[in-house]
Symmetry: C2
Subunit: 153 residues, 2 copies
């Protein structure tokens, strides 16, 4: 795996995902970066550790960024995440007014951006981030594959 | 408004919604009840007060219930909410494995259960609660109408 060409926030999201996996959680990591390029929120999947159904990496990163900025609206900020967001997280990203969403691996089973409900294509979606997918895709997919392979043995 | 025939959890959800409105938040309230009928989590919309994009009533109630049970899965529990959940909250309800969802007013603009993406009809939805809508609808609609009318003056 060569990570050199990845932008720092995506590399960090993958590192957070790896930390989640080491703790026995599905490996997903997320980072919020403000318009000036400063990281203002991070999260790794903590659903089981925190016993929190909303404890996905994206929600944790968004909450941290909102606390940092003192605002529930994160206009101008970008979210970097290792996996395509689910419906809960895609909805939260829209509510937070995130400007740009970067995700690594697609998630045909649980993703809600390019798959399933494709939330941002819905007429009732009030805010759509710009979307870029694929950066770090191989690394993220390998993390997930290794995690689930280890659990099956 | 006659509230007498409403089940206790929906009456409580409407009271929580009223409290949110008094605090200047969009009036939405939510209650999680376990299989034995005990209330194990409550929430009112605190998005602005908490400066939290995930601070909807349902998320707060789900998190409280999960903390109370010590599990991110709320199998057998019901969620009572004054307004049709948005995509974020509908997704969280599914992730939490809520068994029954009761909501009062429909939300054609932001709802994601009967409107928009209709999340629980999606083939990629892994858990669908039973749904009952309409109880307390007039009260909830009046709360929302009054709230937005007051803000426009």
């Amino acid at each position: 795996m060569t990570r050199f060409p990845l932008p720092d926030p995506m590399r960090r999201a993958l590192d957070l995902a790896a930390a989640a996996a080491e703790a026995g959680e599905v490996p997903v990591g997320a980072v919020v970066v403000d318009a000036a390029g400063k990281t203002i929120g991070e999260g790794e999947n903590r659903m089981r550790r925190n016993r929190d159904p909303s404890g996905h990496a994206e929600i944790i990163a968004l909450r941290a960024a909102a606390a940092e900025l003192g605002s529930e609206r994160l206009d101008g900020c970008s979210l970097w995440v290792s996996l395509e967001p689910c419906a809960m997280c895609a909805g939260a990203i829209s509510l937070a007014r995130i400007s740009k969403l970067y995700f690594a691996a697609e998630d045909p089973k649980g993703g809600a951006v390019l798959h399933g409900p494709r939330l941002y294509t819905q007429p009732t979606c009030h805010h759509r981030p710009d979307i870029m997918s694929g950066m770090g895709e191989e690394d993220a997919a390998a993390q997930l594959r290794d995690f689930f392979a280890a659990r099956r043995t």
